[in-house]
Amino acid sequence: MQPLIEWQAGTVTEIRPETPQTKSFTLALPKWTAHRPGQHYDVRLTAPDGYQTQRSYSIASAPEQVGELELTVERIPDGEVSPYLHDVLVPGDQLEVRGPIGGYFVWEVGLGGPLLLVAGGSGIVPLMAMLRHRAAQRATLPARLLYSSRVPDGVIYRSELVQLSDRDHALELFFTFTRQAPEGWTGYRRRIDEAMLTEVIRPFEERARVYVCGPTLLVETVANALVRMGLPTELIRTERFGPTGS
């Protein structure tokens, strides 16, 4: 039997800004269990009057980071939970969490590749857990990341991604910018479409394990395009996180 997942109080050990809209929160957990990359934790806040609200946040850290959990959270201006995490929480505070949760949107080195990861905005977070896990395991299976951002300073984990890719030729990065590209940018500058997916997946001969995470409309577009391109649906895993913030 799997153990029942219970709420536990994690202690915030570090808060790191990633972009103007996102921060990473590292928690030390008293009852830490190894997660599978792609899983999430639920975070619950309780007001003084007893009102409770909860949200699910993808795990950013690899399971190899024992005892700790890193969540990267985008600040949603009219949100109930993310403004508290961004504006109020400080290191040393406690945060109620339960997890790890979910067995559908997961990838481990043992599942093999090649691996195509497609992210929109903060949809990169569970995919980063997969890439960190892949690096920690020194896996050499080919992996490609196609990552769509609106603007250059919205790219989460940019320097770490570039470092990972610099020392690992089997990992290739493809960025696209939908609103404003960096100066002198020669890469993609449009929303992800079928032509872009076809180019990125070509060396894999249209056979890859594909993980798509982002705003619902981006995921719909990508998943429908992949199916039209003839990828077997059982190799495509999606995680939609609803409408975009703006």
Partner: protein, 96 residues
């Protein structure tokens, strides 16, 4: 399966994976890999791949093929209601 991109309902949709915590609390195990057979069109899909609508008072899980309601989950202060007449069955892998 063409949908209108501006359809607000579509934009608000998430995956069954997003309610994995609620499902796990009800069933006592991960349900995202359990297969649900739609009573309307007989399509089979992992619960993690169902279309989930979570912004209402309660959760509605829909079939990704025909969009029929497979299950609804509502929580009151004293009970959890799970209505699943839109599923012919759920198939769970045997646990070792």
């Amino acid at each position: 399966m063409e949908r209108i991109e501006a359809d607000m309902n579509t934009a608000l949709m998430v995956d069954g994976n997003a309610v994995a915590g609620e499902l796990q609390r009800i069933f006592g195990r991960d349900m995202t890999m359990a297969v649900a057979r739609c009573a309307g069109c007989a399509n089979e899909a992992e619960m993690g791949a169902l279309m989930a609508f979570t912004r209402g008072p309660g959760v509605v899980l829909r079939c990704p093929a025909c969009q029929a309601a497979i299950a609804r989950i509502v929580e009151t202060p004293s009970a959890i209601y799970l209505e699943a007449r839109g599923a012919t069955y759920l198939r769970l892998a045997a646990q070792s």
